[in-house]
Symmetry: C2
Subunit: 155 residues, 2 copies
């Protein structure tokens, strides 16, 4: 089991991003960690009430999509650093983006509970990695998605 003391983001994986940038003080600032599976990561997050959807008690679908997208991309960034056997955030920086995001909204997500995200790699081909991610609350899966993440070529 590999466990970083700091989240991927706090190690410098991403700085600005609204979803996960450690320096975006107005953002969601999710924190992703190695999970105890192989090539997998976990994140826990509690939504501010402003991120509600059609009713004040339910999390906004766009935020659900953002969580799945961002956590999945962060897993791939961390894996790309690991492949090169160097610390997350070390130079030269590795950047990845999502090319496709496909989310199934299966149950309403209560807004006042801790959300758990679990992401794991499905497949990897060159600069492309396919990630599956599940969002659950109190052990109940409420949404899931797949993200196609692409590593950008170095500048």
């Amino acid at each position: 089991m590999e466990m970083a003391e700091e989240s991927f983001q706090d190690q410098g994986s991403v700085q600005h991003c609204f979803g996960c940038g450690s320096e975006n003080v107005e953002g969601m600032r999710i924190k992703s960690f190695w999970d105890d599976g192989i090539d997998s990561a976990v994140c826990h997050w509690v939504a501010d009430p402003k991120y509600c959807g059609g009713s004040p008690e339910i999390l906004y679908g766009g935020t659900i999509a953002s969580l799945i997208d961002c956590h999945s991309v962060n897993l791939v960034v961390a894996l790309e650093y690991r492949k090169e056997q160097r610390p997350i955030g070390s130079d030269p920086k590795i950047a990845c983006v999502s090319a496709n995001l496909n989310v199934n909204f299966r149950k309403p997500v209560p807004i006042n509970k801790t959300i758990q995200l679990k992401a794991n790699v499905l497949k990897c081909e060159g600069r492309k990695t396919w990630v599956a991610c599940t969002l659950s609350v109190d052990g109940l899966a409420c949404a899931d998605g797949e993200v196609l993440v692409v590593r950008l070529k170095s500048a």
Copy 2:
């Protein structure tokens, strides 16, 4: 050509939602209008700089997904009211949710430009409506998606 003076949201389609709720002052507050196509809607939006992605110049992918999701759902809500030949937001309220969101991120979206969203209905079966939505900037399509929107049964 059908053109409302007020946006769907300001007519009362959705109140709380982070993406489009007219009363969520901390939210994105997108505004959707009838477009000149059949069963289609348009939205223009300029992002606050906080909604950046991996770099400060580029819009966050989660926000792109949110825009596509929210505008598409709002189109369906408006259409459901129209089917019943009554004003948007009138009682009994009509509520719709997304069941699936599939987004292709094709080009980076510059954050300081006006974004245009165009959504149109692909198919309708009972309480399910499939919507296609394109996000473009200066006439260039940067992202597109499909949303499966489901009308909730009345309480």
